[in-house]
């Protein structure tokens, strides 16, 4: 496939966030597959130590090492990396300060606890730092190692603080290498090469958190990407049937006749009432989805819709979601 226009041409770091339970890891993985298709090389990075990527791609837990986990349609590779804070910190000390010995002493003295639990946002500095290093990394010939990096980021409630950690670091470390490093990372995060995508369901709370998150990110001057609507329940009914189901005016006699005609004689009336009740619930859910979709439409950012897969997410499902994202121009 030749080059084609997508909504995010020029973006090399895709940060994927979402409220817990919205399927942000799944969408991040599908986006990585979509971006890799047609012969590109994409890194999918995980920062929360949950090994969600390994489970999704059905492979053993990922070490702190970039590993190929999937081949995209049309040739193209998805690599995955589970960023381990402790290992990344030691690596970082070696890389920037040649502090291998001190690094070991720090591990012993509990400095790693200091960093991961206490030191303000340093954990986040390290995670964003490692990711942006992968974004900037080049081959010997000067070309970029990865065409794109997708980060399975912390949830919506924490994303602005996570990405904007430099701000906090600046308040505490007014100078020194940590400050310089944080500034470099921030330049990547604020550049047009970065886009932060929000994964949501068509339910009140996730939509509200998405809108709040977009607002916070905007205030912090961080680049907002698209809204990925996940697990949309398809509407299975004709519009007029849906309306009738919604206000409880479905024609029960007609349903009974249909049931009998299909050869289900026994208890047709009870079945009809139960089916109608299911339809009413379905109509209410559909109405809620529509309301929430309208609320999202007030935000100017592009929206992409992914269907609910009733069999759950397996590898085939991931490829299907990737294709859906490509069809809609997200990659």
């Amino acid at each position: 496939m030749s080059a084609r226009d997508t909504d995010w041409d020029g973006v090399r770091l895709h940060v994927v966030t979402g409220k817990g339970g919205t399927g942000k890891t799944t969408v991040a993985a599908a986006l990585a597959l979509a971006l890799a298709s047609g012969g590109r090389k994409v890194l999918l990075a995980e920062v929360e130590g949950r090994q969600g990527i390994a489970q999704l791609f059905d492979c053993p837990p990922l070490p702190y090492e970039e590993r190929k986990v999937a081949v995209a349609p049309g040739g193209g590779d998805v690599y995955a990396l589970a960023i381990d804070t402790e290992a990344a910190l030691i690596e970082y000390l070696e890389m920037f300060y040649n502090l291998k010995r001190a690094g070991k002493a720090m591990t012993k003295l509990g400095v790693v606890d200091f960093v991961t639990t206490i030191a303000p946002g340093l954990r986040d500095v390290i995670l964003t730092g490692k990711t942006s290093e992968a974004v900037r990394r080049r081959e010997k010939d000067g070309s970029r190692l990865y065409d794109a990096v997708v980060m399975d980021a912390p949830p919506t409630g924490r994303i602005t603080k996570f990405l904007n950690v430099n701000h906090e670091v600046s308040g505490l470390a007014k100078m020194g290498p940590i400050r310089n490093h944080a500034d470099t990372v921030m330049r990547v995060l604020r550049s047009p090469e970065t886009a932060v995508h929000f994964v949501t369901l068509l339910e009140e709370m996730p939509v509200q958190e998405t809108l709040d998150g977009i607002h916070d990110l905007d205030e912090a001057d961080l680049p907002i990407g698209g809204i990925m609507i996940n697990m949309e329940h398809p509407s299975a009914l004709e519009p007029d049937h849906l309306a009738a189901a919604g206000d409880g005016s479905l024609d029960l006699d007609e349903i009974v006749r249909g049931i009998k005609s299909a050869g289900l004689e026994h208890g047709a009336e009870d079945i009809a009432r139960a089916l109608a009740a299911e339809a009413t619930e379905h109509a209410r859910r559909t109405a809620m989805q529509r309301r929430e979709k309208e609320r999202l439409a007030e935000s100017p950012h592009p929206r992409y819709t992914l269907p609910l897969l009733s069999d759950g997410i397996d590898l085939a499902g991931l490829y299907r979601l990737a294709e859906t994202l490509r069809d809609q121009g997200a990659a």
Binding site: A105, T117, L172, R257, A262, L264, G267, D270, A274
Partner: protein, 386 residues
């Protein structure tokens, strides 16, 4: 054929006067807060004096209970029927931390600590602090003796286990060697520093200075010096609350949605609770999808329903019935998948009691919504025998 799990008898749990603390835990987005609020409301209406402690910064809980906003002190909820009382509060971790500082140091020193930039970031923005303060608050509520049941909803952390680990980690840190080393130069004007130098301290502070910048280290040292009087207390209190959670008066309720990730986290949690000898009440499978027609027509399977719909469509008859049958087939398929996932959990943990709460078409907005969730939680026939 799977053996059905034992049923989690929610009312027996709530009615038992020995139940003093219920901890709702589970991964993010599974509805812990709603379950905690529904349990609290139901317990109050069954005669208990209840306080619900939430850490969810979303205002949903407050709104569903008819008050605009929750804060760091318990507010009484109006409209509760029956003899009991319901209070609710939201953990403000900075406020809780400030209160500890104020309670354990003289006013001058407290002011000094509260103004320190290192303390300010520590108390308001750091991961681990929230979990620690949730434990601290739980301990405080318990010691006050004002309620005979406390329902806690755990922080939305990276994974469910952080709730158990973070307080210990933070206590260890605050009491730890590192903090003492940091404190040493500030306290003794470097005298002790020289002594420790032989033990590699020079390399260590040198590195810290290099990495963090001198001024951050100085803030940290000042903080530690000011904070030192309170050191012993921190770890000790965290341990006490941890022990409180091991007593029979505590009941852990693990919440999950019928999704692989959430159930996997629930499994980890159940195993961890067993390791720590913490009492598990059972699992709540939240937001399950059910096909209500399955109850009246048990023979109307997904496949049969689909086949009947196809028959009608082929003949060009009864399009409404055909689409309702398809809808039913989809729901049956989803329900079957969820049931398989739940059965997977049960085969790994056959003795863990389970109850289920059906997905609501809309979010919970008010006490009525919480009542419905409470009814579902207590419904004994919640899990179909598969």
């Amino acid at each position: 054929m799977h053996k059905p799990p034992p049923v989690l008898d929610v009312d027996a749990l709530l009615d038992d006067p020995r139940t003093r603390i219920i901890v709702c835990c589970g991964s993010g987005g599974v509805g812990k807060t709603t379950v905690a609020a529904a349990l609290g409301l139901r317990a109050a209406e069954r005669g208990r004096d209840v306080v619900v402690l939430t850490v969810d910064p979303a205002r949903r809980l407050a709104q569903s209970m008819g008050i605009g906003e929750l804060d760091n002190s318990p507010r009484r909820i109006e409209g509760v029927q029956g003899d009991g009382e319901l209070y609710a509060m939201m953990l403000d971790m900075k406020r809780t931390f400030d209160e500890i500082v104020e309670a354990h140091s003289d006013p001058d020193r407290a002011r000094q600590i509260l103004a320190n930039p290192f303390y300010q970031s520590l108390s308001s923005s750091l991961s681990g602090t929230q979990e620690y303060m949730a434990m601290e608050k739980l301990g405080q509520l318990h010691r006050s003796g004002d309620w005979d049941l406390i329902v806690v909803d755990t922080p939305p952390s990276r994974n469910a286990l952080d709730f158990l680990d973070a307080p210990e980690r933070m206590g260890r840190f605050l009491d730890g060697r590192l903090m003492k080393l940091l404190a040493a130069p500030a306290k003794t004007g470097g005298r002790l520093g020289v002594k420790v130098l032989t033990a590699g301290f020079g390399v260590f502070t040198g590195a810290l200075n290099k990495v963090l910048g001198v001024q951050l280290l100085r803030d940290a040292q000042t903080f530690v010096a000011a904070f030192e009087t309170m050191f012993g207390g921190f770890r000790e209190r965290a341990e006490k609350t941890f022990q409180l959670l091991q007593t029979p008066g505590t009941a852990f309720v693990v919440v999950a949605t019928p999704e692989p990730d959430a159930l996997r986290e629930a499994s980890y949690f159940v195993e961890r609770l067993a390791e720590e000898r913490m009492p598990l009440a059972g699992l709540v499978v939240n937001r399950v999808h059910r096909a209500s027609a399955a109850a009246v027509a048990p023979s109307l399977s997904s496949a049969r329903s689909q086949a009947a719909a196809e028959t009608l469509t082929e003949r060009g008859e009864h399009p409404l019935t055909a689409s309702l049958l398809r809808l039913h087939a989809d729901r049956m398929q989803l329900a079957a998948r969820e049931e398989r996932l739940r059965a997977g959990f049960t085969s790994a943990h056959p003795s863990v009691p389970v109850t289920a709460v059906p997905a609501q078409a809309e979010d919970v907005h008010d006490l009525d919504g919480l009542h419905l969730v409470g009814d579902d939680l207590a419904e004994n026939a919640a899990v179909p025998a598969a």
